[in-house]
């Protein structure tokens, strides 16, 4: 009964979304405030209804209600409780429900943000947001009903794919979806502005916290997904240029460009047309990602053609929203007047260059991901586009961007001075060079890319903080002056420095992967495997039983530079509930930022086991850097200027020219 109620709740939510989509626009047209405000309660109600439906599905998973097809196909009564809960979104239907739930959550948040948004913009944004909700609720109701019943109910479920029975499933998809779907808000803002025909710095300021929020969650989502793949897939790779990964990287690149272009717009009232286009493109790429992953088109163009119901539905959604918004853009964008001016060599100019590189990098990923599909669809020729392609096209666009980044960050607004900026950065350049040369000398004969990459990363970190330090210390004299300057600097300045330093940290981690080692051996208890200063000695191999699996455990003692440093357990699991499918649970020990990674291979006839040992120096920095980036984004959101009321509703006279925050 509960499931039917939840299904009904989805239908009501669909109806209310239609109301939310249509009535406010009409209200704005007729200048009827009451009608224009209908979107707010509607958005909140839609969220409550979807939260209820999602809660019901989760409950069904928690109590293993196998009369619901979705639960029976994806769960098992013996599965650990936490994985029963996370299994709610470990399947197509559940994950789409999570998708619209987050969509509705953002709608409700916009409805609540009365203070920071002008009324017309809020009404238009809620309406545009509702149109996306309508489309995806239709998709769920018509092709992916999570509350479908089975009669008779099977006594036991099929269990969740073992690889998904991991904490990663609890963390990665929700973070990623908040990021993906969060960009629907910037999209809605852009569409509302286009319909309204008005866009200015107020728009940029209103949209910025939302963009930052979506961006930081997407950053975390991608990075946690990368870490999950790293430890779960058992060979220590962290990025595979897989189409599904690219599907999340593209909106990230576009979103990164967007958070930088809105700065120029907020500051100088310039780049309006481009910013609007970026806002549309970013969410379009999110939709494209959803289409790529959900339609099955990636496995083969032909599977898509033979079972097109879901894929075709999303394709139509994709075309309506991307095509519609781009058409709207082509029609209305010429109305937008360009604003302030700036010299090519200036902070604004640097941000334009940033956008050029990010857009081209995004284009490279886009082409590499979709070209094989298009080629096969058009000519039938099959080609593979793998990591070598992306390394050859993406990196040449990324490295110059990273090299230029510090110059942009410390360039003056409006009219900059290249030579002066270079002089101010001299110290950071020096630190980076010293780091690179020192490491190069210490690791002579090793890979050259690693020291150079680390030098670049050190340069990025050093310049991020050097610039910040200079603005705090500057020409100030005395501790008190420094303190008051530090307190007076806007939070977004700290956020920028932190985020850019995070990029540097990630770069260091990536560069260090060139030093990673791999050793393969067949071991029996007592055997020793050694590389550099790290060694493992196999103690024993024994079977163990878990709630829904059996596993073979290899226990190793670890020695670092001759000293014992505890043990590592590395497992090979067999899921009896799922056709004896096997997974590798790598044993990982962390030393500082470096890791020792041991995974079990095949068991030999004589009882010995294939063992792979990887040393991964500074590996954790890759993900740590992205967490620092996200923290920088979070710090920027808390900046004072986003918390004050929208200018139209200012309650007191502006307290003089506020010191302009510098991003």
């Amino acid at each position: 009964m509960l499931a039917e109620t939840a299904h009904f709740a989805l239908a009501i939510a669909l109806g209310l979304s239609l109301v939310q989509m249509v009535i406010p626009v009409w209200g704005v047209r007729r200048n009827d405030v009451a009608l224009a405000r209908v979107g707010e309660p509607a958005a909140i109600a839609v969220f409550i209804l979807l939260a209820f439906a999602f809660g019901v599905l989760m409950h069904a998973y928690a109590v293993s209600d196998f009369s619901i097809r979705n639960v029976a196909e994806n769960s098992h009564s013996a599965k650990p409780f936490i994985y029963k809960l996370t299994g709610t979104w470990g399947n197509h239907e559940g994950s789409m429900l999570l998708w619209v739930l987050i969509l509705a959550l953002f709608g409700a948040l916009v409805a609540f943000s009365r203070k920071s948004l002008p009324d017309r913009l809020r009404a238009g944004t809620l309406a545009a947001q509702a149109s996306v909700t309508v489309a995806f609720l239709l998709f769920i109701l018509f092709t992916s009903n999570p509350f479908d019943r089975l009669n008779p109910a099977p006594p036991e479920g099929n269990d969740l794919n073992p690889i998904l029975q991991d904490l990663g499933l609890a963390i990665h998809p929700p973070l990623l979806y908040i990021g993906y779907v969060g960009f629907s808000i910037t999209y809605a803002f852009a569409v509302a502005a286009l319909i309204d025909g008005r866009i200015d710095a107020v728009w940029a300021r209103a949209v910025r916290p939302w963009t930052l929020c979506a961006w930081l969650f997407l950053t975390l989502g991608i990075s946690m997904g990368s870490y999950w793949a790293y430890y779960e897939l058992g060979w220590g790779g962290w990025w595979f240029w897989d189409p599904v990964e690219n599907a999340s990287l593209m909106p990230w690149l576009a979103g990164t460009a967007l958070i930088h272009s809105t700065i120029v717009m907020e500051k100088r009232d310039a780049l309006k047309v481009w910013t609007i286009l970026l806002a549309i493109l970013t969410f379009s790429l999110s939709l494209l990602g959803t289409f790529l992953v959900r339609s099955g088109v990636l496995t083969s163009v032909h599977t898509f053609a033979t079972d097109p119901s879901r894929g075709l539905f999303i394709l139509v959604i994709l075309m309506v929203f991307i095509g519609g918004s781009l058409a709207l853009f082509a029609w209305r964008a010429p109305l937008l007047r360009q604003g302030g001016l700036f010299a090519p060599v200036s902070r604004e100019g640097a941000l334009v260059v940033n956008n050029l590189f990010l857009a081209a990098a995004c284009g490279a990923v886009f082409i590499g991901t979709l070209y094989p599909l298009a080629l096969e669809g058009l000519t039938g020729a099959k080609i593979s586009v793998g990591p070598p392609f992306f390394n050859a096209t993406f990196l040449p666009l990324l490295v110059p961007l990273l090299l230029l980044l510090p110059f942009g960050q410390s360039m003056a607004w409006k009219r900059g001075d290249l030579l002066g900026t270079a002089q101010r950065l001299a110290a950071a350049v020096g630190v980076g060079l010293v780091a690179a040369v020192t490491i190069l000398a210490l690791t002579r004969g090793g890979p050259v890319a690693a020291p150079l990459g680390i030098g670049l990363g050190v340069f990025l970190v050093a310049s991020a903080f050097w610039d910040l330090g200079e603005r705090i210390v500057g020409r100030a004299s005395g501790l008190g002056a420094i303190w008051s300057r530090a307190a007076g600097l806007p939070r977004s300045a700290y956020g920028t420095a932190l985020a850019h330093a995070g990029v540097g940290v990630t770069v260091i981690g990536i560069a260090a992967t060139a030093w990673a080692t791999e050793d393969i051996a067949i071991m029996k208890p007592g055997d020793r495997l050694e590389r550099g200063g790290s060694a493992i000695v196999m103690q024993q191999v024994f079977p163990r039983t878990g709630p829904n699996y059996r596993e073979l455990v290899g226990r190793f003692t670890v020695e670092i530079d001759g000293r014992p440093r505890g043990t590592i357990d590395s497992m090979k699991r067999t899921f009896i509930t799922r056709n004896n499918m096997q997974t590798t649970e790598a044993g990982i020990r962390t030393f500082g930022f470096s890791q020792l990674y041991v995974s079990l291979g095949e068991i030999q006839p004589d009882g010995s086991v294939g063992v792979r040992m990887y040393t991964k120096p500074l590996m954790l920095l890759i993900w740590l850097g992205s967490v620092i980036m996200a923290l920088g984004g979070a710090l920027s959101i808390t900046d004072r200027r986003f918390r004050v009321a929208a200018p139209a509703r200012a309650r007191q006279p502006a307290p003089g020219p506020t010191p302009q925050p510098a991003e």
């Binding site: 994950s95 073992p162 690889i163 998904l164 990663g168 990665h172 998809p173 990623l176 979806y177 993906y180 991608i222 997904g225 793949a229 779960e232 897939l233 058992g234 060979w235 220590g236 595979f240 897989d242 189409p243 599904v244 690219n246 599907a247 999340s248 992953v293 990636l298 001016l341 010299a343 050029l356 590189f357 857009a359 081209a360 990098a361 284009g363 490279a364 082409i367 590499g368 070209y371 080629l375 020729a381 099959k382 080609i383 593979s384 793998g386 070598p388 392609f389 096209t393 666009l397 791999e518 393969i520 067949i522 997974t583 590798t584 995974s599 079990l600 291979g601 095949e602 294939g610 792979r612």
Partner: protein, 152 residues
């Protein structure tokens, strides 16, 4: 979702996930083994989702790894080994698509986007400059400005 699905798709395929090369497959000659690894990393496992034969435990990938090593032992150069595999399995096996008429747009596309963007920016700049937006004040305007400032 992306990784989730990557993992899911990988999981559906007939293999477990640990990296592939087994100790038995390895060549005694370390330099030659290094070459084999290099070649393998660029060859696609044909039954997998976006994995190289170096990463895949699928039986077909293992056969290909052994084939690569056999060719190397027979004295082939890296290029000859790759040509041999391509002749057998087609271009699809190469993770780095060769440059050709059908892949021209793929390879120069990213550079085209970058150059088109750069060109657009340059044009915009020039238009602004010729519209008098980018230049400084001329003498008459400067005099006018000073006159206004003096009046204050």
């Amino acid at each position: 979702m992306p990784h989730l699905l990557a993992i899911l798709l990988l999981a559906l395929l007939p293999m477990t996930s640990a990296r592939a090369v087994t100790p038995q497959e390895r060549l005694p000659d370390a330099a030659m083994e290094q070459r084999a690894r290099q070649i393998s990393a660029g060859l696609r496992c044909l039954v997998c989702q976006n994995q190289s034969i170096d990463d895949s435990e699928a039986p077909l990938a293992r056969d290909l790894r052994v084939l690569v090593r056999d060719r190397l032992k027979a004295g082939d150069s890296n290029g000859q080994v790759i040509d041999f595999v391509v002749a057998r399995y087609g271009e699809y096996v190469l993770l780095k698509p060769p440059f050709g008429l059908h892949t021209a747009l793929l390879w120069i596309g990213p550079a085209l986007i970058f150059m088109a963007g750069a060109f657009g920016l340059w044009r915009l700049r020039r238009r602004q400059a010729s519209a008098g937006l980018g230049r400084g004040l001329d003498d008459a305007e400067q005099a006018e400005l000073e006159r206004i400032l003096e009046k204050r």
